[in-house]
């Protein structure tokens, strides 16, 4: 090997000419002094920094036309970035010219400083390109905190109690006055509500979509639980129920000590269906809900536990199928076993290549393919994980087969054993420790992967987690996150303990 820093041939051109050449094409002077790697490195760095810089100008000032206008605009937007890169480019350029002069003079300088400068330039370009914005992170933290805090401590949502409700209702005729409904019949001891009058105009929207308030009805109730929160509901003429708002808040009240109340309600806005003809009878309801019965696991908690189990088993099944298929393939992918003839060598290369390609595609992407194949659900996830596991374990297994001691194999062959016997007696005993260790490690990875593979439809808890996040149900999402974290931590511990035992 030739040392790149060693000048083996005399520089072609005198220093001054080299410097001029590097002024025109950075690095050319070095190339002509036979400092090939140095010249190429400088040329490549310079060109790519300029290229990236122009691209960023394009992005920062995409409305401007012409490089100059873009430059001016970008400078007003991100002055630090622009000034820094420009200064650094000029510094780099000058250094390259100076270096061309030196190298053509036969001197050999390491130029560590310039490598650091190039590195810093790439770093700042990277910072700008990847839109890193620490300020935004800090500014937006207060808004992100409420959902975040729910994810961090979601446990109130983990339990619920059954609810029961008591309701009383009264009929109201809207936008009409002829034949209003009668007030409901009063029964001693039952919750009761009555409205005066039993008719009125609904709230409406004018042309500018401003709310025009409707008539006020006076509600009077009795026979409810005393001192208890009571919610008002409205049921329209076709039986759809909703909670009316007044001043932006849902309408609710607290009953007095005798379980009665009075309340003035503005008849809410409701778009009546065009098909509605004749008398439009709506209903107003007063409803008290209370929690009854023992505390029990909430729906999200139960779903999380069920899907967590599904996830663990997905990881297990994928590992299991992976092992079964990876073991035979790994023997075919072990160079030392396959070096016999050109046929076996070909098989070796084919399988190795398939392993490498398969392994380089993430399980998430395999899951996308598997979902197309077998549809949404855990089976798709298992297929994806199995494919990746075969390749990953196959490679690890075959590498540990390659690193086994050939001595015992020769010794067993020398006894007249056949190929299968040789494998069982000389290869397998040497394989067990690495196989166990890699397999446990893979099982660990597979359970981890199956926690997220659901995000692309592969079943398991990831599916649930994404749903909760989309529904902005951060507490339920938090429960899922906690379960994932706990499971992975336990698994980590167990797998490292088992591996310790076997190595």
């Amino acid at each position: 090997m030739s040392n790149p820093y060693k000048v083996t041939k005399k520089p072609l051109l005198p220093p001054a000419v080299s410097a001029v050449l590097s002024l025109i094409v950075p690095g050319l002077g070095q190339l002509l002094s036979f400092r090939i790697r140095r010249g190429l490195f400088l040329l490549f760095s310079f060109v790519s920094i300029i290229g990236l810089f122009i691209w960023r100008l394009q992005v920062i000032a995409h409305r401007e036309i012409g490089l100059q206008a873009k430059f001016v605009k970008s400078f007003s937007r991100e002055p630090f970035f622009i000034v820094f890169i420009c200064a650094a480019v000029i510094a780099l350029w000058i250094w390259i010219i100076y270096d061309a002069y030196k190298t053509a003079g036969g001197k050999n300088e390491k130029g560590l400083g310039i490598f650091v400068l190039v590195l810093i330039m790439f770093f700042s370009l990277g910072w700008q390109i990847s839109e890193i914005n620490l300020g935004k992170m800090i500014r937006e933290f207060p808004e992100a905190w409420p959902p975040l805090s729910r994810i961090l401590w979601p446990w109130e949502a983990a339990v619920t109690r059954d609810t029961s409700s008591v309701t009383a209702e009264a009929a109201i005729l809207v936008d009409d006055t002829a034949n209003p409904p009668a007030i409901p019949e009063y029964i001693e001891g039952e919750p009761y509500i009555k409205s005066t009058p039993t008719f009125g105009k609904m709230s409406t929207l004018d042309e500018k979509n401003n709310m025009v308030l409707g008539d006020i009805i006076h509600l009077e109730g009795s026979g409810f639980e005393p001192d208890t929160l009571t919610e008002i509901y409205w049921e329209d003429s076709i039986g759809n129920e909703f909670r009316p708002r007044q001043d932006g808040e849902y309408v609710s009240l607290v009953t007095d000590g005798d379980g009665g109340f009075t309340f003035d309600l503005v008849i809410p806005y409701r778009l009546t269906p065009p098909s509605a003809v004749g008398q439009q009878i709506h209903r107003v309801q007063a409803r008290q809900t209370s929690e009854v019965g023992p505390v029990k696991a909430s729906e999200p908690l139960r779903l999380t536990i069920v899907l967590m189990l599904e996830t663990i088993f997905m990881g297990m099944m994928a590992t299991f199928f992976g092992i079964i298929l990876a073991i035979p393939l790994s023997f075919l992918a072990a160079r030392n076993l396959m070096s016999g003839s050109w046929v076996t060598v070909t098989i070796y290369y084919v399988i190795r290549t398939i392993f490498n390609i398969t392994r380089s595609i993430e399980p998430m992407i395999w899951a996308l393919i598997a979902v197309v194949w077998v549809g949404l659900g855990p089976f798709a996830g298992i297929i994806a994980l199995t494919i990746h596991t075969i390749a990953a374990l196959g490679k690890l297994y075959s590498e540990s087969i390659e690193s086994i001691d050939p001595g015992p194999i020769e010794a067993i062959q020398a006894t007249g054993a056949n190929r299968l016997q040789t494998i069982m007696f000389a290869v397998v005993p040497q394989m067990i420790p690495p196989f166990v260790s890699f397999t446990i490690y893979r099982w660990d990875i597979n359970v981890r992967m199956s926690t997220v593979i659901g995000m692309v439809g592969g079943g398991g808890i990831g599916f649930l987690l994404v749903q909760y996040i989309r529904l902005l149900d951060y507490k339920s999402a938090g429960i899922a996150v906690w379960f994932i974290a706990i499971t992975v931590a336990i698994l980590d511990f167990v797998s490292s303990k088992i591996r310790e035992k076997f190595v």
Partner: protein, 263 residues
């Protein structure tokens, strides 16, 4: 009887490890192969049971050419020829008794053997073999828990399980101390004398060669450069010595050899 005719081995990288080597080994001989490191001793021994493919030449074993044997016939030849190695080549994580039993692999049915099922007479034979080398008490231990000398004795027991007509031993004592070396070679001598098993053994120390060999061949750079009886080796001249070990080699004393080359 073993007869080697014009044996040549050229490795894939072009190294000529054996050049046209011919010699005979009579039944019941204790043939020792001497030569410098790299002279081709291991290559020669491994060609005989085809752990290495010879490039040219014939290896006649009781009239049949081992060099042409393949598949089943090769395995049948191999099981008649035991082999002992410098580094013992035991399966380290298997038990001693399993290592010994594996010497029977050429005889038993392949399918039951891969389930580690051996006929009971083979198990008895294995204990007898361990008894012969004096380590029955170690049978259940893992092979790598044994000392070097004990491991080599397991190696001998494994070779004996093959019920061999010949044992090839490639520097069987090179990784053992002198006392153990004598004990191991003592076992080989017993096997040779009492069971009439031919031994072909490569050795580095002339005192051991003189004590145990019935006949000696010398290799140098893949050429056969010396053949002599036990009596011949005892009165080997300096010229003969230099023929084998090179011009710069010096005989330090009657016994050991100090080569001018590597090692």
């Amino acid at each position: 009887m073993l007869e080697i005719r014009n044996l040549t081995k050229i490795y894939d990288d072009g190294t000529k490890a054996l050049k046209n080597v011919s010699f005979k080994v009579e039944d019941g001989e204790f043939l020792v192969i001497i030569g410098l490191s790299g002279s081709g001793k291991s290559t020669l021994l491994r060609c005989i049971n085809r752990l290495i493919e010879p490039t040219e030449g014939e290896i006649l074993w009781n009239g049949k050419d081992i060099a042409k044997a393949d598949g089943r016939s090769l395995r049948e030849v191999r099981r008649q020829i035991g082999m002992i190695f410098q580094h013992f080549n035991l399966v380290k994580r298997s038990s001693v008794i399993t290592n010994v039993l594996s010497g029977r692999l050429g005889y038993v049915s392949p399918w039951s053997s891969i389930l580690h099922h051996f006929p009971s007479e083979d198990r008895k034979r294995a204990y007898d073999a361990l008894e012969m080398v004096g380590i029955t008490d170690q049978a259940a231990k893992r092979a790598d828990e044994l000392s070097g000398g004990q491991q080599q004795r397991v190696g001998i027991a494994r070779a004996l399980m093959q019920d061999p007509s010949m044992i090839l031993a490639d520097e069987p004592v090179a990784s053992l101390d002198p006392v153990l070396a004598h004990s191991i070679l003592g076992y080989l001598e017993d096997i040779n004398k009492q069971r009439d098993i031919t031994i072909m053994c490569s050795l580095h120390y002339l005192d051991l060669v003189q004590q145990y060999s019935s006949r000696v061949i010398g290799l140098r750079d893949g050429n056969l450069v010396y053949e002599g009886s036990n009596a011949d080796i005892r009165k080997m001249t300096d010229d003969e010595f230099k023929e084998i070990y090179g011009k710069e080699a010096v005989r330090v004393n009657a016994g050991s050899i100090s080569g001018g080359a590597d090692e």
